[in-house]
């Protein structure tokens, strides 16, 4: 048997042993994950919970803060994706309406303008000066 073939076989055996160990004996344990990595249906349920809470308190800021853990996408998009998922996996009409309510609120949401320090002072009228 040629020596190079012997090496190839050894490599293949090593890889097989490595894969068997990695997949069967000691597979990867997912720990310390974030809500953003959850499967689409769990994400949708997460958003649904936010929608249920929003339905009761009508607190858009709180809903946005809660949605922030689901990724860097805009809250309205996250809610819209959840709505889409909910529709595709057969959520009840009530749940869909809650998600729609949240999505609409997020789409219409206008954060309160925060005055930038300095700008206001610079542009302040000087009325009253002689």
């Amino acid at each position: 048997m040629p020596r190079w073939l012997f090496s190839i076989i050894a490599l293949a055996i090593g890889l097989s042993l490595g894969l068997f160990y990695g997949w069967e004996i000691n597979p990867v344990q997912f720990v310390d994950t974030t809500p953003a990595s959850m499967r689409a249906d769990y994400r949708a349920d997460y958003v649904l919970m936010i929608a249920e809470a929003y339905h009761a308190d009508q607190n858009t800021d709180l809903a946005i803060r809660r949605l922030a853990v689901l990724g860097s996408d805009s809250p309205a998009n996250i809610a819209a994706q959840a709505l889409q998922t909910g529709q595709s996996i057969g959520y009840s009409t009530h749940d869909i309406s809650l998600l729609q309510e949240l999505t609409r609120a997020l789409q219409a949401y206008q954060p309160a303008p925060t005055p930038i320090e300095g700008t206001q002072k610079d542009s302040a009228p000087t009325g009253g000066a002689p």
């Binding site: 012997f6 050894a10 890889l15 919970m49 339905h55």
Partner: protein, 289 residues
């Protein structure tokens, strides 16, 4: 004599090295499609808060239970209770803590708890449903009320009411009735030799008998005052708090939010079976009407 297969060993080592380089650098593991039970502990806490918040809106205990199961806690009630205590200790808003504690309590009792004071805008009344133009109705209700005219005494009021199905739906965050004074429901002397001397056990419950964590209690005596909270001993009850009284000292106790002060509380003197005296305790129960 056969030569040792160094080439094969070298090939194996290089292969493993390349594999690890590929796995760690070129295409590292990306966690996708994970389950809620793999979440980091702080995200699990947020998940429980959300479950509790949605439960306080929907009062769907079965759904809350199945959602909690996703987190893989050995004892969901214990996990919720412990979280409520942590939140309380870290000064998180009382209404959020209460939602978590309430869910734990309802899971334990198996009965959904619907606070009677949570529906200020609801159109649900004890009697038959009546429609007024100002009634706020949900999307599932389809009343049709003609405008009521008061311009002429002879004008007819025409109203067509289609069968009304009312969906009980609280519209506010569930919080205890602000200002409703707590009343002392019971004040019992406890004579148990195995109990800590002078132990004052306090239980605070709401109008439905549910334990109330996070309620501030003020105890005063001649020359002193102390504040403490219910809910720090969930292994006893969520609405439990205790205080060790000194013998021959009169205490006044009051629920901080609102409540009539209960004066002249003293540790009783008890006698055991051998005739020896010891300092007994008190068992007080406060209820929010």
């Amino acid at each position: 004599m056969k030569r040792f297969p160094w080439e094969a060993i070298l090939a194996l080592t290089i292969g493993i090295g390349l594999g690890i380089f590929y796995a760690w650098t070129i295409a590292p593991v990306r966690y996708i499609n994970t389950m809620p039970n793999t979440l980091r502990s702080d995200f699990k806490d947020q998940y429980r808060i959300l479950i509790a918040a949605s439960y306080s809106s929907s009062h769907d205990l079965a759904r809350a239970k199945s959602r909690l199961e996703l987190l893989g806690d050995a004892d969901p009630v214990q996990a919720l209770t412990a979280q409520a205590q942590r939140m309380l200790a870290s000064g998180q808003p009382f209404d959020v803590v209460q939602q978590v504690a309430m869910l734990a309590d309802d899971l334990q009792s198996g009965v959904a708890h619907i606070p009677p004071t949570a529906m200020p805008e609801s159109n649900i009344s004890a009697g038959p449903p009546t429609l007024t133009p100002a009634a706020s109705l949900s999307a599932t209700e389809t009343p049709q009320v003609a405008p009521i005219s008061s311009s002429s005494p002879t004008s007819e009021i025409v109203s067509t009411i289609v069968p009304l199905t009312i969906t009980p739906r609280p519209t506010q965050t569930l919080t205890p009735t602000a200002g409703a004074p707590f009343i002392l429901l019971s004040n019992d002397i406890v004579c148990k030799p195995d109990l800590t001397d002078g132990l004052m056990q306090i239980y605070v419950i709401d109008s439905r008998g549910h334990q109330m964590p996070g309620v501030e209690i003020i105890i005063t005596w001649d020359g002193g005052e102390e504040h403490f909270f219910t809910g720090f001993k969930p292994d006893i009850k969520n609405g439990y708090a205790d205080y060790i009284m000194q013998a021959n000292v009169a205490y006044t106790i009051r629920i901080a939010e609102s409540g009539t002060p209960v004066p002249d509380l003293t540790a009783p003197t008890c006698t055991d079976s051998s005739g020896q005296t010891y300092t007994g305790g008190l068992h007080l129960t406060f209820q929010q009407p």
